[in-house]
């Protein structure tokens, strides 16, 4: 027994010592199996199927019948996208006065994709995203929100002002037939903005952004919607019904242009344009208008080949806790007077008919600088495009998920070189 100080039976000790390797091997195999199983377990589920067709209409009806006014709602919007005076928002204050509903207004959206990325996990988990109303541009993210059943179908009985006053542009749009899920907030154009003094001549075409004389002074957008769509227009194709061949053609156009491009910009292009880092750039109409109000001398053109028109849309995310309050607000902004309050400040294309006349009346009542700027606004083709200009505006291509992968593979290497 002296050989064995632990008082264990010798065969047991031998048993512990001998199969060591096998046991380790067993543990390794087991570990690998567990790892594999673990790897397999971490999937991400996709869309939860919702009702379609007439069942959807019925579901929406019963949903809205159960909703009660709560007296408040939270509104997620983009920066500088609502009227502002003395630190408050007059159109929201008026709404609260008329309806007793408080609005918690949050300027939290800078980018459709990033905002979608932020709210997606909550909606996926079946929770409220914390917002009852949000403004999303027509395009990939809006399509995905719909496909994933992340939007609440609107109450078609509470769209009185909308039905009476909405402009043709935003009624029954191609990206949301019958306005089932969305009502427009504002629309805008993507065209070319430039500094005529520095470019030295008038810009009229997308081909002007391929002028070797402007080498290093051209800005383009770093996104997968406006950039490809404008390139498609540049090669003479309407983005809405473009094919994969067209996409490649447009990509080649962009690749030819690439050595001349200083940078693929996000919203910061407007600063670069303002301070002369670039002389000509893809641009959003409202930005150019606002830069000029601040003393700039920029010009916005709808090129001969056409420009892109987009619409930012109000919609109600799934699991919103104050849906009815949000719905009441959505219809409220479709009164021409309210729309004029917004348009006088926002400077994009208003979704409501009759606003131009109201702004002209306001201008007649105003004096001095206010009068001049209101008149300038009412006469601006950036805010109120004529029918000739409307004819040159095109919507984005609606893509299926498969098409979207191809599309991204074609265009992403250009703006992320």
């Amino acid at each position: 027994m002296h050989d064995n100080p632990n008082n264990l039976p010798p065969d047991f000790v031998r048993g512990l010592a001998q199969p060591r390797l096998t046991r380790r091997g067993f543990l390794q195999a087991g570990g690998l199996a567990a790892l594999t199983a673990g790897l397999a377990a971490c999937g991400v589920s996709g869309a939860k199927t919702g009702p379609t067709g007439s069942a959807a209409t019925k579901a929406a009806k019963s949903f809205w019948q159960q909703q009660k006014k709560t007296g408040s709602f939270t509104f997620a919007n983009w920066p500088l996208y609502i009227d502002k005076a003395h630190g408050t928002h007059p159109s929201l204050d008026l709404f609260t006065k008329q309806t007793g509903i408080d609005v918690s207004y949050k300027e939290v959206i800078n980018d459709n994709a990033a905002f979608f990325g932020k709210i997606q996990p909550e909606l996926q988990a079946g929770n409220s995203a914390g917002y009852d109303l949000m403004v999303i541009t027509n395009g990939f993210e809006l399509d995905k929100l719909k496909e994933l059943n992340y939007l609440i179908a609107l109450d078609q009985d509470r769209m009185t002002n909308f039905n009476a006053n909405a402009s043709d542009l935003v009624k029954n749009p191609s990206f949301d037939p019958g306005n089932q899920f969305t009502m427009a907030w504002q629309s805008g154009m993507t065209g070319i903005g430039y500094d005529p003094a520095k470019v030295g001549h008038k810009i009229t075409s997308w081909q002007d952004l391929k002028d070797p004389k402007l080498k290093g002074k051209i800005g383009m957008f770093s996104d997968n919607q406006d950039l490809p769509s404008c390139a498609l227009l540049a090669v003479g194709v309407n983005p809405e019904d473009s094919t994969e061949d067209d996409w490649n053609k447009a990509a080649n156009w962009l690749k030819d242009q690439q050595p001349l491009v200083r940078k693929y910009y996000d919203q910061s292009y407007i600063d670069a344009l303002g301070r002369g880092d670039v002389y000509a750039s893809m641009a959003w109409s409202g930005d150019i208008y606002q830069a000029n109000l601040g003393g700039g001398n920029l010009e916005f053109v709808i090129p001969d080949e056409g420009a892109v028109i987009w619409t930012d849309n109000m919609c109600i995310p799934a699991h919103a806790e104050h849906a009815l309050d949000a719905m009441i607000y959505m219809d409220y902004v479709y009164q021409p007077k309210i729309a004029a309050m917004l348009a006088e400040w926002i400077n994009y294309i208003t979704p409501v008919d009759g606003v131009q006349a109201i702004i002209k009346q306001d201008a007649a009542k105003a004096t001095g600088g206010d009068r001049a700027s209101l008149n300038y606004l009412a006469d601006s083709v950036l805010i109120f495009p004529s029918s000739d200009e409307f004819a040159k505006l095109h919507r984005y291509r609606v893509l299926t998920t498969d098409e979207e992968n191809t599309w991204n593979d074609i265009f992403e290497p250009i703006y992320q070189a």
Binding site: A40, C42, G46, A47, A113, D271, A272, R275, D277, N405
Partner: protein, 290 residues
Amino acid sequence: MRRARLGARLAPYFLVLPGWLWLVLFFVVPTFVMLSMSTQTGDIVAGFKQTFHWQNYSNGWDQYHVQFVRSIIYGLIATGLCVAIGYPVACWIAFRGGAHKSSLLFLLLLPFFVSFVIRTQAWSTILSDDGIVLSRLKDWGIVGADYHVLATPTAVIWGLTYNFLPFMVLPIYVALERLDPALLEASSDLYGSRAATFMKVVLPLSMPGVFAGVVLTFVPAAADYVNAFILGGSHTTMIGNIIQTEYFTNQDYPTASALSFLLMVGLLLGVFAYARAVGTENALEMAAAQ
């Protein structure tokens, strides 16, 4: 008696438990989820499923190796510049700072009380083509009318250098501060010139600080995307920018995860190799050998 001994034996494990939990919760679990995601296929609407599609890695590499290599090169150059600038600064504060050492360190860190995005944005205004610096230089004829800094690799690399400099200075400063002045005296007593003292005493003993500084600078610099985003141009995209786009714009989580994993493994291997070659202990051995 037995119980007390058991408790005493387990105490150290309990003490490190919070650290382990932290590591597991915020590193091991996310890394595991990322690894799992990197071999899945699908899309956000249909959902992602595990199919052990390892091609995500080769596809990611094929498509984005340019940005990968570029990130490593930018990171290396920025780290080299940080050493070149940071070492003299740390030396000066440690040996010449005197009573003002803490004030000088505070001054070094002062800009970092402002968000680095805002500081980088400020540089893009300062260095703009017709901004306060370049417009003067152009007026004086020092640079040509077409000269610009923004939207070039130079701008991105200097942005990285600027943003990560304190991570280099502080560890070197700490190493130099710990250096026993008696060693310097001994060196000069033994007729060591100033240059020899620096080469044979100061430099070797400060190597651990340089080592730490290089790791602290290179890893975040190579993975950075803010500088390329704000100061860069059409050919300066770094791998961080690509990963961000894959995650948020394309919602292509598998590709994004595969790229993140490649970057992480690449950086880890690099740091390990570097540690083997000039790791802390080796540096001390080198010092001892001399």
